[in-house]
């Protein structure tokens, strides 16, 4: 019986009980102070356990494991722990003058809605010539999205908290409610504390011509933050997570089930992949 009780308590904490079982356990907890104490102790030990292993997802991944994942072999002398570096296979950075245009564009976008890809064909970043205008628009739209995300991030870093529309507070649910009033769907806030990232606030920006939320996170660890996560709705097809560079910024973007997301910052690419993985999981799982 004791064993069954322990199982029920643990399953209750893990959210694995059906409604009737949950009600039964809650009645039991309500009636017995000793059980309430056990429940609290179990919750605390679970939290301690997660903290004890948190370093393994924030520490740099050893080079030998990266090589193994790529099907390469690394000699023992090379198999030292190094911080993941971004791949340099992207095209050369655009001319510096274009960056100012992007910043100006990003500044002008604050609170505005810009048509998908409109007026952006002069950017020179379309890559190989596509045969159809539809594809050109699609690619330009993507570049526009990423350029704006990078520009928004630069603005946020340069201006600090003054640009945050809704600063973080004790009740982040209230923050999200406020920012979501201007969006087509409720925004959810991924918890990135295991990465040492603290939520600082939210801004309204534009993704693919639609208002979106820019969630701003900061940390003392310069290998990870500051970092911005932009989440908006989209009617575009899904895209698997893809890495891009914009000058000194790393971006990981993906579209999934009507939601367009981009992580942007100067974070090491290894961290960015891990955080993006965490974010994608949380947004799907919540």
């Amino acid at each position: 019986m004791q064993k069954h009780s322990d199982e029920a308590l643990v399953a209750y904490l893990d959210g694995e009980l059906a409604a009737d079982e949950r009600a039964h356990v809650e009645a039991w907890i309500g009636a017995d102070p000793e059980v309430r104490g056990r429940l609290l102790a179990l919750a605390e030990s679970a939290s301690t356990l997660r903290t004890a292993f948190a370093d393994f997802v924030t520490d740099p991944v050893p080079e030998r494991l990266i090589a193994a994942a790529r099907g390469e072999t690394v000699s023992p002398t090379e198999a030292e722990i190094v911080v993941l570096r971004p791949r340099r296979e992207t095209a050369a950075p655009p001319p510096a003058a274009r960056w100012y245009i992007q910043l100006a564009t990003a500044a002008g976008l604050f609170g505005l809605v810009v048509g998908v890809g409109a007026g952006y064909f002069g950017s020179g970043t379309l890559g190989p010539v596509k045969p159809t205008p539809a594809k050109q628009i699609q690619t330009a739209s993507l570049n526009n999205w990423l350029d704006n995300a990078a520009g928004d991030f630069k603005l946020m870093v340069n201006a600090g908290d003054t640009l945050v529309d809704v600063p973080a507070s004790g009740d982040n649910g209230d923050v999200l409610q406020k920012i979501s009033q201007n969006l087509p769907q409720q925004v959810r806030l991924p918890d990135l504390k295991p990465w040492g990232l603290s939520f600082r606030g939210a801004r309204l920006v534009v993704v693919e011509g639609r208002p979106a939320a820019q969630l701003v996170y900061t940390t003392d660890n310069k290998a990870i933050g500051p970092l911005a996560l932009i989440i908006g709705s989209t009617k575009q097809p899904d895209i698997a997570p893809t890495f891009e560079r914009r000058q000194d910024l790393n971006l990981l973007y993906w579209r999934h089930q009507g939601r367009a997301s981009v992580l942007v910052g100067q974070s090491e690419i290894g961290y960015l992949w891990g955080i993006a993985n965490d974010v994608a999981w949380q947004l799907d799982a919540i």
Partner: protein
Amino acid sequence: MSSRWNYGEPPEGAVPRPEPVSKRFSDQLIAVLPRLRRFAAGLTRSASEADDLVQAACERALAREHQFQEGTRFDSWMFRIVQTIWIDQLRARDIRKEDGDIAEERLGTDEPVRRVEARLALSEVRRAVSLLPPDQRATLMLVTVEGLSYKQAADVTGVPVGTIMSRLARARMALQQLLEAGVGERRSARDAEA
């Protein structure tokens, strides 16, 4: 719940540089490496042993890339590979001897009393996890640390959900007792020094 990265092939034109499937597979693998390391760290007794385990899992995953089913969870598939290799390694050794060694090591350990309290506590937690039976250890890491549901953990370990429930409850209770015992030992050591 949907899988994390298995969103299907990106539409032509949407991604500037379409990538071959094998590279995409490697990218998925790299993305889960931090969590695989964490899971492996909970199963093994040292970071280097954990990394050896993850490296072996990467090599096996690449060799069996064709066996991964699109639309299923990539992380669960990798957790299963890590766990399978780990069990093979345990079987190759003498499990009883290994667990006995751990217990003796714990009994004979003289932790420096002046270590930073928080770090000591965290290392004690990891040590406590290593004292659990292998099946409880794996279940605890999958559910409580990696956040898998009972059903997903059952799929990874190949046991019924009911078994996951009982293993998890035993693991959580045992962990709590070990942690409380560790705190008691530290207090005794401090009192003795004072």
